[in-house]
Symmetry: C2
Subunit: 380 residues, 2 copies
């Protein structure tokens, strides 16, 4: 297998892009990645997307996006793993280059969620859960995460306010990211005053939906010795229904995919300089930190309280705002993470730059921990 490098990155701002069609969002990010790489023709285009068939009445986004990028005749397909769609797309792109089948692969994540009403969006999102054993009871996707958060608080004795550092850090970092949806910093007082979405999850525990696209152009590392390298790439799955897991507050698949990625990269958690994790909800940030080996069980919140997740901390997270403040266009998020990690490793993260970043990790989660894609990137 060949080693893979990220030669180009591109992204659109995460916004309510009512005036831009889903194909145009994908094309904007894809085109930006191609221009960044100086590549005009690719071998394959993989598009990550979760809800396009329902919310945009558009399927077959692989061919559609290839068409509007002027890449007729290439290979293209769409990948879906709920909110983990883009991380899974990155993984397949890496495989295509590693195998030698393709020399240049464009991996794009795109989602357009704000044109429809909250009922359609909520219905589309709960498709990430188990339709016949979870959603059928009327629970929403936020509601499922609320159950997990409540259980975690009960088990480890935390109060809701203990989770404040996650949102405060994410918003502070987003202030330096022009692509972010919410760029205003918040403080603990604001966090505490957040209205309840699904008890105990309040407004500042939940990431916002949004419209956006992010893309990377992948090539064999030997062709791009200066480019950021993919040192580890792994996907692992767990049960979709939370009640089927031995422990509802432990992300088994996150632990597994992180472990595989560490092994491939030959690094330990101590060597990770920043971690773009899946803070769709505060509780998921906590669980991701624990499963990936940065805190002991029940210690994710304490890690945040100690300031270890800040840009100057031991393991900076959500360095450009995370899902919470950059925004969470679900099927694009995993590639926003990769783009942001790449910018950090290139030293192009502006005011959000993590000094001396050399090794970065991303973790993208589909459902409440069902599909987990972990990537480790390194500066050459």
């Amino acid at each position: 297998m060949r080693q893979v490098a990220i030669l180009g990155v591109g992204q659109t701002p995460v916004r309510e892009h009512w005036e831009i069609a889903i194909r145009d969002l994908a094309v904007a990010a894809g085109r930006a990645a191609m221009e960044d790489a100086g590549v005009e023709r690719v071998d394959a285009i993989y598009v990550g997307n979760m809800t396009g068939g329902s919310l945009n009445q558009q399927r077959q986004l692989g061919a559609l996006v290839a068409d509007f990028l002027g890449q007729w005749g290439v290979e293209a397909v769409r990948m879906e793993a709920a909110c983990g769609s883009a991380g899974s797309t990155m993984r397949q792109g890496i495989m295509a280059v590693a195998s030698g089948v393709c020399d240049t692969v464009l991996a794009i994540g795109v989602e357009k969620m704000t044109d429809t009403g909250p009922e359609e969006t909520t219905t589309a999102l709960v498709g990430a859960a188990d339709a016949e054993f979870e959603a059928i009871h009327g629970v929403t996707f936020v509601g499922l995460n609320a159950l997990v958060m409540r259980r975690y608080m009960h088990e480890y004795g935390y109060s809701h306010d203990d989770f404040a550092p996650f949102a405060v850090n994410a918003h502070a970092n987003a202030a330096h990211n022009p692509q972010a949806m919410f760029r205003q910093p918040i403080n603990e007082k604001v966090y505490r005053a957040g209205r309840v979405v699904a008890d105990p999850i309040t407004l500042y525990d939940a990431s916002p939906i949004g419209d956006g696209a992010a893309a990377v152009l992948l090539v064999p590392a030997e062709r791009a010795p200066e480019a950021v390298r993919v040192a580890g790439s792994a996907v692992a799955v767990d049960t979709v229904a939370i009640h089927d897991r031995a422990n509802p507050i432990w992300l088994e698949a996150a632990e597994l995919s992180a472990k595989r990625a560490y092994e491939q990269a030959g690094v330990t958690p101590e060597e990770i300089d920043l971690f773009e994790l899946h803070d769709a909800f505060s509780i998921m940030a906590t669980l991701s930190l624990e499963a990936a080996g940065f805190a002991e069980r029940g210690g994710g919140v304490r890690l945040a309280q100690q300031g270890d997740i800040l840009p100057t901390g031991r393991i900076p997270i959500s360095t450009l705002g995370g899902l919470k403040a950059r925004g969470h266009p679900v099927g694009a998020t995993g590639l926003y993470q990769i783009v942001e990690a790449t910018l950090q490793l290139r030293g192009q993260a502006g005011g959000a730059q993590i000094d001396g970043a050399r090794t970065a990790m991303t973790q993208n989660i589909g459902g409440s921990g069902a599909t987990i894609a972990t990537h480790i990137l390194q500066r050459p």
Copy 2:
């Protein structure tokens, strides 16, 4: 890259499976393929599906199906390219094994379309077309194919009745396939009496929707010297909107993907013993035969009229009923084709067996020719 072999195949009958959940259809086919291969644990599961998010309110089928197959912790994702979803899934599975990333990959195609009303199904299916430049005008997916058929008839001087041999052959062959949806033979008189669905497409030009799943278990060929081999595998895309093509009655991407597959396999059309093509509509069977090099432009219908597509003909097609009579559970179809071609090469096609079949080709089409997956399989 390693060569890839098909060690196991599995399928469910195509029916209106009102009593079986989508996950259970996928599990039945996947389990059958694993048992056929004598494999109990796989490295990755790829699931092809088009409409599950809309018609079954279920996304993230990769993780869900892995869970219900008892394959926790594996890698899994869903692939979608409209009606070309399963062919694209096969392609990604091959890449995963060829690259050396995986040693055993289960590729499953599944679709469950008959629980909802015709309006929901028709809406979901037209997502295969260009939402903003085709579907927005109110045209259905059948309607788009009807426009192509009308244009073809005008250009080459055929009447509707000239297309009869496609449906007659498909139904005759399905009579030998217990998995097929429609097993009754029809004759030309029945074909001619078919009621209009979207002029000039009548009931017998259009494949039926259905519920079903098909699966293959892929391994490196060196591990299975007796198993059917993947000699060629290619996906190519064209514009999604038909009006954007230079020639609306020529499948550019089918020509391209067939050409790539021929080159990989080192064979010519003359060496193909049977061709499982995408006869979603009679016109698509015609265009596929032409693009893949079995007939000159405008000659696909003549080929059928001469009897060349019959089991005893020069290039047998739809040997187990095709989409027309086996049925077309859209996101599963591409893998039904692979399963059927494999059975033919193993000599396990029962009454539908093509004598001496050694090299088989499949072609799966997403949309009206937008995503085309071509595979060439060979008996070792």
